[in-house]
């Protein structure tokens, strides 16, 4: 299907709150999952006949399983604090992309069937029957939420739209109306170990190629080990790191860090994916299946530590949920947090002087840093709250001479989603992705003009794929997005290095489609 033409939002000097334009994005919905992708995950192949009854029953079940859902459906007072906080609202001006309005698509049905007032006086309290139109609205607008939790920061009750959009997606899956992009990928990852469906030989091939590249460039034999039993560290990284740009430069960075620090490490072909799309569809069971592969790989390889590569939602699942889903990890070395983020590892090694960085390796760039939503608002790094903001910035500052932050409202806990998170990184949603990126593009443009920023670093596979795809719409170049460990890679001083020149790797391969699969 050809994507219809659309207008790219204009970047203003400063952020403004747009006027509402009803149904501005009513036409945007992703492809519905075919039968094969649905049944693999245990969902009906197509919309079932009694979908309405099943959906209403599932809604009741979920409000009894998740306190968040139960409390959030009751608590909203419609104060309006969240209405201008969603990047999709700011970029599309569609009122149903205001967090509260998105929640209300769900809440009005909940009120109709599960509250006294909604049963007696539905009109008065904005309760509505579940109809086919409402279901279509759900499908449209719960796939215009990237579950980035920016609204939850600003809500006086901490209402998290992500919780509601996850529940809505789970209900839609249960009645047979799942989203193709997410469900196809989850199926692949559950069978083959990664979102791309890369088999082991392909992985070996790629990693050997990378080892050769590094040796050609530096003269040092840096290993990219796979399935090495007895290694200390198991690295779990998004499969986009194996081939997409700029992800792959980040992977090279991790390898150089481990090499220089003398840490024995390995990747796993069985669990060759950090991403966990089970979270996006709100499915505890599917999320757990993927998490358990990581536990299994750690047991099989007999490692002592688990470290995660640069991936936003993966780090949320790893940091916040892994212990719950696949723990306890008492068989690992308890002197290290389980799991650890690669940035925590690198940061520690920089601090204690184990690795040395030559900042001039990145002198051809002036950098800024994009806080990825799941890292910023749904996880932590290090020992103190906010470590997820300081640790990556410390690494960047240690790796380069030129760094500027974007405006305060657009970074740290207020960071804007890249526009492609939450299972929306697919071509059938390209208009949404471009428009949703507007607030970030605006902030980036500001530091580009004021501070001469040339590149933006990120620690999320989805962010990297999304930006390399949508940058050209806003007159940026696709290679202006870089991995944080790419900067480390450019700056790290390897023992025995023959050639100090580390030119910017350039690759013209447009693997963005594949990157989206793997992110």
């Amino acid at each position: 299907m050809a994507v219809a033409k659309f207008d790219v939002p204009e970047l203003k000097e400063y952020p403004i709150i747009p006027k509402l334009q009803k149904d501005a994005m009513a036409h945007s919905a992703p492809y519905v999952a075919k039968e094969e992708f649905q049944t693999k995950l245990g969902y009906p192949g197509e919309l079932i006949d009694n979908w309405k009854e099943v959906a209403i029953e599932k809604m009741g079940e979920l409000t009894n399983k998740y306190r968040s859902l139960s409390v959030y459906l009751d608590s909203c007072v419609k104060c309006g604090a969240c209405t201008d906080k969603c990047h999709y609202y700011l970029g599309t001006t569609d009122p149903k992309n205001m967090p509260v309005a998105r929640q209300d698509l769900f809440r009005k049905v909940y009120r109709r069937y599960y509250t006294l007032a909604g049963k007696i006086v539905p009109k008065l309290v904005g309760a509505e029957d579940l109809t086919e139109e409402v279901l279509d609205d759900w499908y449209t607008y719960f796939h215009q939420c990237s579950q980035c939790r920016r609204c939850s920061v600003y809500c006086p009750y901490g209402i998290d739209t992500a919780e509601i959009s996850m529940a809505a997606r789970e209900i839609m899956d249960t009645v047979g109306k799942g989203q193709k992009y997410c469900n196809e990928i989850i199926g692949k990852a559950q069978v083959l170990g990664n979102n791309l469906g890369l088999p082991e030989p392909a992985l070996i091939d790629t990693l050997e190629g990378l080892e050769e590249d590094i040796e050609d460039e530096t003269g040092v034999q840096v290993k990219m080990p796979l399935d090495v039993k007895g290694a200390d560290v198991l690295l779990i990284t998004p499969s986009a790191d194996f081939f997409a740009e700029p992800h792959i430069d980040g992977l090279i960075g991790y390898a150089k860090v481990f090499h220089e620090a003398g840490i024995s490490w390995t990747m796993s072909s069985y669990a060759s994916e950090a991403a966990n799309f089970g979270m996006f569809i709100g499915s505890y069971e599917n999320m757990q299946k993927l998490a358990l592969r990581i536990r299994q790989a750690a047991l099989d390889l007999g490692v002592k530590r688990i470290v995660f590569g640069e991936c936003g939602h993966a780090w949320r699942v790893a940091y916040s949920f892994l212990n719950t889903l696949a723990g306890p990890f008492d068989f690992l070395d308890q002197n290290y947090p389980v799991p650890q983020h690669i940035c925590e590892v690198t940061h520690g090694l920089i601090q204690d002087g184990t690795i040395k960085l030559d900042k001039s390796g990145n002198d051809h760039m002036t950098l800024t840093y994009h806080d990825s939503c799941n890292v910023a608002r749904a996880s932590r790094m290090g020992d103190t709250p906010g470590g997820q903001f300081t640790i990556p910035r410390d690494i960047i500052r240690a790796s380069c001479n030129n760094f500027y932050d974007m405006p305060e409202h657009s970074i740290k806990e207020g960071t804007y989603c890249c526009g492609g998170g939450g299972g929306l990184l697919t071509d059938d949603l390209i208009e949404l992705r471009v428009k949703g990126a507007m607030p970030r593009m605006q902030a980036l443009k500001q530091v580009t003009e004021q501070n001469g920023v040339t590149h933006m670093a990120a620690i999320c596979a989805i962010c990297k794929s999304q930006f390399s795809k949508i940058f050209p719409y806003y007159d940026f170049q696709m290679d202006q997005i870089v991995s944080v460990h790419q900067l480390v890679s450019n700056a790290i001083v390897l023992t025995g290095q023959t050639d100090g020149e580390s030119d910017e790797e350039n690759s013209d391969n447009d693997d963005s489609k594949d990157a989206e699969q793997a992110a």
Binding site: A81, F321, N323
Partner: protein, 241 residues
């Protein structure tokens, strides 16, 4: 009239108490299977208590979000808080010393409360985004509380009710002794609206008051790596495999 209002008062109180208890019981019983605090979040229980304290006293998140809503919302809630404390004087004999102390503040707090409510209502009508998300009940709820506040202010500053008789009536209600209630119209309206508010509390968005304490994004400790967090249904799910 005295008997009618006594019955309504008892009924409304019962609905309020049992209705709220029922909702709160549901919130307690429903598990939070995953750690979802909005980070950066406190890493200790006392840190969480402090975060929550700031949320309910100075509306920290709302302050970050929107200064106008914060200003009106805080004026209203803080005003209401003082007004409610001041009203304790009608239920205690002798009046507790600190209630007597805040009496003058409580009187003027009612005006702050009305200003806040007026601001919130104005925003609901004027700001297109807030208008879009408002149901009829959202306006009516504001009007209801404005009605209570306005009649209260009238009685405080303009047309006083027979406060001695009223207090005697209220003290009587507390010991199930129904005495005579003053019947001036402003008081009757005031009390009717209060009774209505109490009755709809457990089935309306006023549930945000208990709800905020149960919000996992605000009340969870950020320690998932240190301590395994698991819900009862998740354990069952695991053992069924």
């Amino acid at each position: 009239m005295s008997i009618l209002f006594a019955i309504l008062f008892y009924a409304a109180t019962a609905i309020l108490v049992f209705g709220l208890a029922y909702r709160i019981r549901k919130y307690i019983k429903t598990p939070a299977p995953l750690k979802i605090p909005t980070t950066p979040a406190p890493t200790t229980t006392s840190g969480v208590a402090f975060r929550m304290f700031k949320e309910i006293t100075i509306f920290e998140s709302l302050f970050k979000s929107n200064k106008w809503i914060w200003l009106f919302g805080w004026l209203f809630h803080f005003g209401l808080f003082l007004v409610l404390l001041r009203h304790l004087r009608y239920f205690t004999d002798p009046v507790w010393w600190w209630v007597a102390l805040i009496q003058p503040f409580g009187k003027y707090a009612s005006i702050a409360m009305l200003v806040g409510l007026g601001g919130l209502l104005l925003r609901r009508i004027v700001v297109d985004r807030v208008r879009y998300i408002s149901a009829p009940s959202d306006y009516l709820m504001l009007l209801l509380i404005i009605g209570i506040g306005a009649t209260g202010v009238l009685m405080t500053f303009v047309t006083h009710t027979d406060i001695v008789t009223l207090k005697s009536y209220l003290l009587g209600l507390m010991v199930f002794d129904i005495r005579t209630m003053p019947t001036d119209i402003v008081l009757v309206i005031h009390l009717s609206l209060v009774i209505l508010l109490m009755a709809i509390f457990p089935i309306s968005k006023l549930l945000h008051a208990p709800g905020v304490f149960f919000s996992p994004t605000r009340n969870q400790v950020d320690n998932p790596r240190e301590k395994r967090h698991i819900s009862a249904w998740a354990i069952k799910l695991e053992s069924s495999k």
